[in-house]
């Protein structure tokens, strides 16, 4: 049980390739923090620096108030689960889980207690005498978690633990990790490239890109108040629709004009724009697919387009819509609101009219890509 503090952490490979720059983060005791970002963004490198598997080029990492920069992994009292599980192929499941305890020279009795307890919690008791080769992906993953569990370590590190599993198993294991977290009651640092995992698991999420931290916040914060365009696009699926458009000010009211339409920005967003004294001109407007509404007929505040592809997802439709100038917009429409006829009509080529309320709009500076109102 411990806090982790990273101060100005930097990682440079071969004196030229910068993998992580200026990483600052304080992880509270028992917090679950997720590092998320596209591949090559430095999230794994950061995790491996916390683990002691990579040297820290600059800055300090503290665990429980102790600077661990020069400590070996074994002296940092951490546990780690690897993406490819890294089970010792020549040992049985029991020996795999017991390995770290044997290195510590615990009495066999105690090892037996700990290993069988962990196996029970994870539901792998019946496989204890098998070799990893004879296990399925999900079972291997459980063994890897078991191996980390028995160490009673201060920090629990997980490096993309679910990405080698198929989609169904991944959902199941995600739920189990939430349960595990309740049982272990320790500090977690979790790395993933999957924003769904990040949103569902993390108390806080660290979004990274090209070695730089983009935003740190709770799932709600990063979803509703993304600091920049990258975060806005990265969080949420399908990703946010981005439209280059003009912001007009007429009679003290703000309007956006995507694809020939003219939609007033009122309510809270309008007030915020005014408060920040945002000037009119070119901006980037973002609207999440689920917030786009199908209008019955063309009006001043609708965007006209036609359906390209209609993906039936069950509870909702994903409509890929081509606007008049050829830009693609995705809309998520719950099927509940549509009659059978309407659903049948929304085939390729069918004309549609889109609109969205002003409270779901995001505004970004076209140059800096920063959020204009948060």
């Amino acid at each position: 049980m411990a806090s982790v503090k990273l101060t100005n952490v930097k990682k440079v490979y071969d004196k030229k390739v910068v993998a992580v720059s200026d990483f600052n983060l304080e992880i509270a005791d028992k917090e679950f923090v997720v590092f998320v970002g596209p591949s090559g963004c430095g999230k794994s490198t950061t995790l491996r620096m916390i683990a002691g598997l990579e040297e820290i080029t600059d800055g300090t990492i503290e665990i429980d108030g102790v600077v661990v920069n020069d400590l070996q992994p074994k002296d940092r009292n951490i546990a780690m689960v690897f993406q490819n599980y890294a089970l010792y192929p020549h040992m049985t499941v029991y020996d795999n889980i017991a390995f770290s305890l044997r290195i510590k020279k615990l009495p066999e009795d105690e090892i037996y207690q700990k290993v069988t307890h962990a196996a029970e919690v994870l539901g792998i008791s019946e496989y204890l005498l098998r070799k990893p080769r004879a296990l399925s992906g999900g079972q291997r993953q459980r063994v890897a978690i078991g191996r980390a569990m028995v160490r009673d370590s201060k920090v629990f590190l997980m490096d993309e633990p679910l990405s080698n599993l198929d989609a169904k198993l991944r959902n199941q294991m995600r739920a189990e990790i939430i349960l595990l977290r309740e049982q272990l009651d320790t500090t977690f640092v979790y790395v993933t490239h999957d924003q769904t995992e990040a949103m569902t698991l993390g108390d806080r999420i660290v979004i990274m890109k090209d070695g730089y931290v983009q935003q740190i916040g709770t799932p709600e914060e990063v979803f509703e108040k993304p600091e920049n365009l990258f975060v806005a696009e990265f969080i949420g699926a399908p990703k946010m629709n981005i439209m280059k458009t003009q912001l007009l000010i007429e009679n003290g009211k703000y309007y956006v004009t995507p694809f020939g339409s003219k939609i007033e920005v009122d309510g809270e967003n309008g007030a915020l724009l005014k408060e920040k004294e945002i000037k009119g001109g070119e901006i980037i407007l973002g609207v999440r697919p689920e917030h786009i509404v199908l209008a019955d007929e063309s009006a001043e505040n609708t965007i006209n387009g036609s359906v390209m592809v209609n993906e039936m997802m069950g509870s909702e439709l994903h409509l890929h819509i081509k606007t008049e100038d050829g830009t693609k917009i995705i809309a998520r429409t719950p099927t509940v609101n549509l009659s059978h006829e309407e659903r049948f009509q929304l085939k390729s080529g069918h004309p549609v009219h889109l609109t969205f309320p002003s409270k779901v709009m995001y505004f970004f500076d076209p140059e800096t890509e920063k959020n204009l109102i948060y």
Partner: protein, 298 residues
């Protein structure tokens, strides 16, 4: 258009002879089987000849036929009146000690170069690559003189030979490094997090996984001394008690000796080849893993 879609798609060429595939396969397989039989015969003939000649007792010189007219064990028995048993023991001792120590050294070297990223590692590997381009034969002259100065030649050739074989065996790290490279590094990392020292990682995680390459290394190191007649001849310097089998038997085939010793050479050859070949055939699987790994890794 629609009608055409209903027709069968055009067949790929070999499918047209669909009925013929099986028959053609059978013919080509029979042909290959015959070829393999011929190849095997060619490959084994010399060995069969050696064995047959070793039982020939009507004469001891080279003859133009294979099947002995009189059969007997005379050649084998006669070996015991020569220095052959001494040579045999010399070689066996050399081979066993070399195999053990050389394996340790090669494994140390290859494990280190595969797993550690230390300063000068690339330089070291390049340096050894360059050293390896010099013909090793050159160094024999000086090594012989040095061994002679410390009294490890002639009758004492065995320790001298062992020393030289082992000393430069680090150069042969390449194949086993290739094998170590295929063991995922995340295993090392997992073990480091589990609290193991580098030494424990080597003994508890890596070595158990490297069984094939360990056996490969032992096997090749064990076989090499049986065939060395160049440096071994230098070091033993015509002193019979310091010779290994290769040097000793080689001398039986020179012009003065061959007529009297030819069939005995065959008998000795059988005795030398038998254990080595059997060991090799027995451990073939590991040899294949080693040799393939090494070549693929380049």
């Amino acid at each position: 258009m629609k009608r055409k879609n209903n027709q069968l798609p055009e067949l790929p060429p070999q499918a047209k002879h669909h009925m013929g595939i099986k028959a053609r396969n059978a013919i080509s397989n029979t042909f290959i089987h015959i070829l393999l039989v011929i190849i095997t015969i060619i490959w084994l003939v010399p060995f069969v000849c050696i064995i047959l000649q070793s039982f020939r007792v009507e004469s001891t010189h080279m003859v133009g036929y294979v099947i002995p007219k009189d059969w007997g064990l005379d050649n084998y028995i006669a070996l015991f009146d020569t220095d052959f048993p001494k040579w045999y023991i010399n070689t066996l001792v050399t081979a066993i000690i070399t195999a053990l120590l050389q394996t340790v050294i090669v494994l140390c070297m290859s494990y280190t170069l595969s797993r550690f990223r230390f300063k000068g590692r690339k330089l070291l590997m390049r340096f050894m690559l360059i050293l390896g381009m010099f013909p090793g034969m050159l160094t024999m002259i000086i090594l012989y003189r040095v061994l002679k100065d410390i009294g490890m030649t002639e009758a004492n050739a065995v320790p001298g030979l062992i020393l030289v074989y082992i000393a430069s065996s680090g150069m042969g790290y390449y194949v086993s490094k290739g094998f170590f490279d295929t063991i995922p590094k995340s295993l090392d990392e997992a073990a480091r997090i589990d609290g193991a020292t580098r030494f424990q990682i080597l003994t508890k995680v890596i070595l158990p996984l490297a069984k094939p390459i360990v056996i490969y290394t032992i096997l090749t190191a064990f076989m090499a001394p049986w065939g060395d007649f160049v440096f071994a001849r230098y070091v033993s310097m015509n002193v019979s008690s310091g010779m290994n089998v290769a040097v000793g038997l080689f001398s039986w085939l020179n012009k003065d000796m061959i007529d009297g010793r030819y069939t005995m050479f065959c008998a000795a050859g059988v005795l030398v080849a038998l254990p080595v070949a059997l060991l090799f055939i027995f451990l073939q699987k590991y040899y294949v893993e080693g040799v393939t790994g090494g070549a693929v890794k380049g």
